[in-house]
């Protein structure tokens, strides 16, 4: 009897608990449904040697409307200043260039890789997205984005559909995104492969703006592998068409024997060498395969990802990233390591050789060259008693590139050809529920 009583009491308690939770659940859901939560970040990005520096602030607001319906909006503001490599090669004499506006000149000292120090911009971006269930096991997401800079505007939209299978252990999703960007460079659009001219001579520049359309398709697959491991694999296809040049990038035209940039005598103020504006194809197709795994070893969580990208410009890249989140007191510490390696575009040229036929496409933009990059970082996150979290993240980014040996001519072998880049990134974050 005693056992029976105890059993009945347990059963009663369990029934009450179930009923109680059944009654309480919708109330809890409603409470959660009226909640906003925010994620914010302040970022400093600074390259060494006084090159690009960026201050950025971002705030993301998320509203959970219950029944798995979510709205989010992110606002980002950036200010950029500093100098970026123009693509022209270093020389043993000082080099003078006409600034992008066409109204002034800037000079690079002998032996230095030319940097265009007229670079400054402010950027404002707004993104919003909506997610909701469409039917049992189906979820739909839609988003829009807009950003504006002094010489650039972007609008975009995306739509994704996900379906869960296999007791929600498997999710397959498909998405499409489209964007249109308009570029209106300071001082006009240079005619590709036209020569840099003297100050106030804009005969090689076109007025108005050019645009670029990008269509992205994404097919994703997420799989729970076991109680502590989840895997995601994405295939992406991206097609860009339109104006894909960087209107500020140059190529030096060099002597076939010495490898030195041809000298030019400016009329008034202007370049003292022969420099051409770059020319890229007007279409690019990229494909990538991305895989990530998250695994929990008790409290610590490890993240690993790998991406392979290939495009029809001849660029292949490999990216691997690993992070380990380790609980520490009221928070966690998360070391991060990323390695990136890319091959050069087919039309990458460190310089153009005088007397040879001009190629149709040529760019000395170092971002289209052969380089590898390493990021080492650490994040510390700290939970507050009321469930908010602040964090600080510090990273060091280093790029090391090289020019193919067959492109190195004469005296170029004795000079810095590829401007190695290093940058420090510091981010302060705060997540909160008001």
């Amino acid at each position: 009897m005693k056992d029976n009583d105890s059993f009945n009491a347990t059963l009663a308690a369990a029934t009450c608990a179930l009923l109680g939770s059944a009654v309480a659940a919708p109330v809890a859901a409603q409470d959660a449904g009226s909640d906003w939560s925010f994620d914010s970040a302040l970022l400093y990005y600074g390259e060494s040697d006084g090159r690009v520096s960026d201050f950025s602030a971002a705030v993301s607001a998320l509203r959970d409307l219950g029944d798995e319906r979510k709205f989010s909006a992110t606002v980002t503001a950036d200010t950029l200043t500093g100098a970026s490599a123009s693509g022209a090669i270093a020389l043993d004499r000082p080099q003078t260039f006409t600034s992008p506006s066409g109204r002034a000149v800037y000079t690079t000292p002998a032996g230095a890789v030319p940097l265009d120090d007229t670079f400054h911009d402010a950027r404002f971006a707004l993104n919003a997205s909506w997610t909701q269930p469409l039917a049992r096991l189906y979820t739909v997401s839609a988003g829009v984005g807009f950003s504006t800079e002094y010489d650039y505007t972007h609008i975009g939209a995306n739509l994704s559909l996900a379906r869960d299978f296999n007791k929600r252990n498997t999710t397959v999703n498909a998405g499409v995104a489209w964007s249109q960007d308009d570029v209106k460079p300071v001082g006009g659009l240079p005619i590709p492969l036209s020569q840099m001219l003297d100050v106030d001579n804009n005969s090689n520049k076109l007025g108005g703006s050019e645009s670029k359309d990008v269509l992205d398709l994404l097919l994703g697959f997420t799989q729970v592998l076991n109680r502590t491991t989840v895997l995601r694999v994405n295939y992406s296809y991206s097609d860009s068409s339109g104006y894909l040049n960087d209107p500020y990038k140059l190529l030096s035209v060099v002597d076939p024997l010495t490898g030195d940039t041809l000298a030019r005598v400016p009329i008034g103020q202007g370049p003292n060498g022969v420099y051409l504006f770059e020319s890229r194809p007007d279409a690019r197709t990229k494909q990538s395969l991305y895989a990530e795994v998250k695994h929990s070893f008790g409290d610590p969580v490890m993240y690993f990802s790998y991406r392979y990208m290939t495009d029809d410009w001849g660029i292949d890249s490999h990216t691997g990233e690993v992070r380990l989140r380790w609980p520490l007191g009221e928070g966690y510490i998360e070391p991060q390591l990323r390695y990136y390696k890319q091959s050069a575009a087919d039309f990458y040229r460190a310089s153009l050789v005088s007397g040879s036929a001009l190629p149709r496409y040529a760019s000395a933009d170092f971002r289209l060259g052969d380089f590898d990059a390493t990021t080492v970082g650490i994040k510390y996150g700290h939970g507050t008693p009321n469930g908010n979290e602040w964090s600080i993240r510090a990273e060091y980014y280093q790029q090391t590139g090289s020019v193919p040996s067959e492109q190195i001519i004469g005296n170029q072998a004795n000079r810095a050809l590829y401007p190695d880049l290093s940058a420090v990134i510091v981010q302060f974050g705060y997540r909160f529920r008001p």
């Binding site: 971002a58 998405g175 592998l225 990229k286 998250k294 929990s296 289209l368 990059a373 993240r393």
Partner: protein
């Protein structure tokens, strides 16, 4: 022909999932979500998009910036 092994891999992975809804204690932790730090991810994508020739993978290709 190339698609067949991929399908088999996907089926194989689907077959290994034995995790029941009541066994999701670990997977339900916020840090186990694949998108637990969307702002960090967006910032990283933006930096790498402006310094490298690759973008996207985790999500759509990024962009919307005159920086590349």
């Amino acid at each position: 022909m190339k698609k067949i092994p991929l399908c088999l891999v996907l089926l194989g992975l689907a077959g290994c999932a034995q995790v029941q809804p009541w066994e999701r204690d670990v997977l339900a932790r916020p840090e186990m979500s694949l998108d637990n730090a969307p702002l960090d991810a967006a910032i990283d994508d933006h930096i790498y998009f402006s310094k490298e020739a690759s973008s996207g993978g985790r999500g759509f290709g990024g962009g919307g910036c005159g920086c590349n």
